[in-house]
Symmetry: C2
Amino acid sequence: MHEGAGPRPRWAGPGTAAGDGLTRLARGRVGRATLPAGRVSGYPSRMERLDRQIAFLLEVDKLKSVFRRNLIADGSRTENDAEHSWTFALAALLLAETAAEPVDVLKVVRIALIHDIVEVDAGDTFIYDEAAKQGQAEREERAAERLFGLLPGDQARELVALWREFEDGQTPEARYARSIDRLSAVILNHASQGRSWRRHGVTKERVLEINSRIEKGAPALWEYVRELVEDASRRGYID
Amino acid sequence: MHEGAGPRPRWAGPGTAAGDGLTRLARGRVGRATLPAGRVSGYPSRMERLDRQIAFLLEVDKLKSVFRRNLIADGSRTENDAEHSWTFALAALLLAETAAEPVDVLKVVRIALIHDIVEVDAGDTFIYDEAAKQGQAEREERAAERLFGLLPGDQARELVALWREFEDGQTPEARYARSIDRLSAVILNHASQGRSWRRHGVTKERVLEINSRIEKGAPALWEYVRELVEDASRRGYID
């Protein structure tokens, strides 16, 4: 499928620190080729295209080391972004019948799988931390350009657009996705007896305020969450 | 949306050990209602349906504590099944153009998200461990019945069928999904310098043998993996 028998320097060299997931070839290429305009055929071969796709997958593997504030259901530790993205995608599939408007489920699942990728560079911003939210949009925009820019241009543009659609929350898919994103945090916070809420001084009123946006995307889930929060309050999981 | 103002015993009681993700209501219901035949309307209300869906999500949250043999890309620790499922789903999306036959991408992503759920009960079986594979099919079949059986009947049946389709590997989606499942392990093993392969005494020949099935689902990925394994061998990542 490609010319030349010699070993091509496709992967990280031996001198590369473990943890630098980017391949050598991709590292060389990405700087001058971020979000190229126009054609897929800007990349000469399927193998070169694959190089970029795999380099992207290895780079975003770092999401497995970006930790959120909430705990996993058994309360044993905090959840990382990769795990959260899986729960989000699975919940989006299972609960699609609760969406306020008809949604393209594949689009929602794609959003779920990529929505937190910017946090490889920008880190997790705690939704209840107003100070941390300063500058968040700008940090995440830069991160999106760099990270999705590792992909072939057509896919990079597509995923940046999808991520922005989620952030803007103006389409049925984005609204439903945002509802599921919030729901998945609330059910884990409840299951882990509100320890993360109490640890970070988050009150019942704040939880209801921040999560009220669930209603726009999935009214039944908002009803469910309100009951869950009331239940958490009765049990003393939250102040 | 539902009658009655009183608190319904929807969630785990205060006496419930953290970690038992199942809600009390669901626990009571599931025993007599696993995989009911027929109609969705076997469940009286949307809220009761939601109870089951959330109970399922909390139960399969345990996948975050089922660890595989391979390391994450930076080599810092082993990967868990939830993280692996995210990588698998994301890779399936990005690499769909490499599928040997046209595939329904949403179906492949659904497979990715649920393919390891049986391991909540059955545990991870190392693909290179022939002894551990004894009885694996039976263990996993029981696990599928119990775990997917937590869902409303229609969804339970749908996901059990999807999981079996993946296991059987007889459709274009299942073949492509199996290729991506394998690819995602190989790229992480390479990125983490083959430490998991060496730790478990897995040779280059075994890696090529086990992963040769990639070719059926995605020939270009098999070419890529062969080169990656050759590269791993040259670097001494694998014997």
